[in-house]
Symmetry: C2
Subunit: 345 residues, 2 copies
DNA sequence: GGGGTTGTTTTGATCGATCTAATGGCTACT
DNA sequence: AGTAGCCATTAGATCGATCAAAACAACCCC
């Protein structure tokens, strides 16, 4: 029944103090204010810390500092809001990027459509977390206002559309993404570049449309259409659209799902993806990877860094930034944009 | 600069005690041992708790109890082990199911392929978590042994293949899944049912193959093939396979990716999915949903419950169960198994 | 030698909750 | 009346870390 030193009994600051024949405070200083100790003492204490494998306990620090370093992130599991493709990777990135700064993530769920503020309130009141990152904000979203009203620190991944004065957000520059996609296709030798996007009126959708529209020269403009985010709709629209596409033309799509619809329509029409018709999606989803479709991927890692920086400012009561932060997504080139005439592998 | 009661200053047990004119301990008892109080006192204290909106602080409880209720879950972000389709939903389910039992999840990442034990050691030594759920165990996985050796509480989602004596796992019954798929197809009127799976030798793959093999009668057995988990391979194999399929036949696939490959091959061959050839995948992934493919979905919610139950036993030093727990997945019927001759929608 | 500095180390209090043991009030039994 | 027993309540200590302030040592200056 012997247990290794990692297990019980835990190593506390008192153990280290005793072993090094100093006071608890001196051990604490060795860790947090090394300059206060004489070189000899410092060395001895640090050696003892190493020997015993001491690490400060998070719970004790949290209590003392009144800060846990835990960031609440809501995962909409059931109900209308699904776990989307971007959420999970962002969560992972936040975990990795946050660790060195003593931040960690605590996902929590809202099991139903109930006033989901409940989840936030629980996490906050028990101080299981001391800040939040909200995502997928939409018009009429009650969360920003509620959090603000209660003085709860939070930042947003995605602009807060309802409140233009709110600047503690990080978002992906959709227009820059479709612009890069368009340039990539033109540079790759495709003659005309068209666009398949979502119906006008969605802020994200319009943004992505804009990037294409402002980039493609009149002389190289291919046909375009706007349909809803759904495979069947995309397929149907694409079937009509590709009737107007000539070999050497290409399509920029507002999402990987739309691109997939086009992919299927091309397949069914017996036309070749990439060599005959260029095709690129948006979102960097696994779906695009599986189908060997080029796509515009979100800068997840950068977003995580930026969000944490913002959050740290917020927790230290620093003034909010002058404006939100737009990050450029990056291009992932695959077979579907290998260039006209190029038969890929 | 007024702040709402939810924000600073926090409501502590002392505040409640003062307001209700009792001692701190009495407030604590009102919450944890109500039977110890006289009815009048209890009522008064609870009313005060309600008025002030008191909730015990997690950090203080953690320190006192030497238990945080936090469960570490590793998210393999980069490196070889990817964030798979099941991980994210399970994480969400654990969050929801765990909350009422004062459990919460803390995802942490291994940013590289380094000895990833590091991540576990960090989380454990600082007692940021006091247990782990490991997933995606594989042959030669160092984690179970390491955790065991250090006396760290953990349970596994997925059998621990290396150690048959280890019983603190929950897994999905693959054979039951493919059996249900096969029965569904036969009951739906498909004449012959074939199988497309992974090469022999993978434990999960063989399990899924078995469910089909033991269920389909000799007289209704369709052609089968075994290929690697990858769209292109599936597509190629399926192209060959469907040459041997007659209208009214169906295929059970070991994964949604494989089913997708078949779907594409059918599409390219101009054959109709569902009405002509039945098709069902495995894993309940979004990919299947998007393509309107029937699939066998993992019982994520049940798995989360079972894992938490196991974990609670482990934390309370209860003896391990006699054996691991196999959960039956459930069938999600969509257009791809609508029955021979039935044109769906 | 008293007083002032600087530098290192320690003491005591604190964060918020809960455990243990003690206290005071009341009834009941001898 | 004395005391044993029970119930409701409270005082004090504890979990592990850190802050603020005190103590102590060594040195310099007038």
């Amino acid at each position: 029944m012997t247990r290794s030193p990692l297990a019980r009994p835990r190593v506390t600051i008192t153990d280290v103090a005793r072993a090094a024949a100093v006071s608890r405070q001196t051990v604490s200083n060795a860790v947090n204010n090394p300059h206060r100790l004489s070189p000899e003492t410092l060395e001895r204490v640090l050696a003892t810390i190493g020997d015993l494998g001491y690490r400060p306990q998070a719970a004790a620090q949290s209590l003392r500092h009144q800060r846990t370093g835990a960031i609440g992130v809501e995962l909409g599991t059931l109900g209308p809001r699904r776990l989307n493709e971007t959420t999970a990777p962002l969560l992972a990135a936040l975990g990795v990027v946050g660790a060195p700064h003593d931040f960690h993530v605590v996902p929590f769920g809202s099991s139903s459509d109930e006033p989901m503020i409940d989840g936030y309130e629980n996490m906050w009141r028990t101080r299981l977390v001391d800040s939040f990152i909200i995502m997928d904000t939409h018009h009429g979203d009650p969360r920003p206002q509620w959090l603000e009203a209660h003085g709860i620190p939070f930042v947003s991944f995605g602009r807060v559309w309802d409140d233009p004065g709110f600047t503690r957000w990080v978002d992906v520059d959709g227009a820059a993404g479709t612009q890069a996609a368009t340039e990539h296709l033109l540079a790759g030798g495709y003659r005309r570049v068209g666009f398949l996007g979502w119906p006008e009126g969605s802020l994200v959708g319009d943004d992505r449309w804009l990037g294409w529209e402002r980039t493609v020269p009149e002389s190289h403009r291919g046909p375009s259409a706007r349909v809803s985010q759904n495979l069947r709709a995309a397929w149907t629209a694409a079937t009509e659209l590709i009737g107007r596409l000539e070999p050497g033309d290409a399509l920029v799509c507002a999402s990987d799902i739309l691109a997939l619809g086009v992919h299927h329509a091309l397949l069914a029409a017996g036309r070749q993806v990439g060599a005959e018709i260029g095709l690129i999606g948006f979102d960097g989803s696994p779906i695009a990877e599986i189908h060997d479709l080029s796509t515009i991927a979100h800068p997840i890692h950068q977003a995580a860094e930026a969000l944490l920086t913002l959050l740290r400012g917020e927790l230290d009561a620093a003034p909010p930034p002058a404006q939100g932060r737009l990050l450029a997504p990056h291009l992932v080139a695959r077979a579907s944009t290998s260039g006209p005439g190029n038969t890929h592998r």
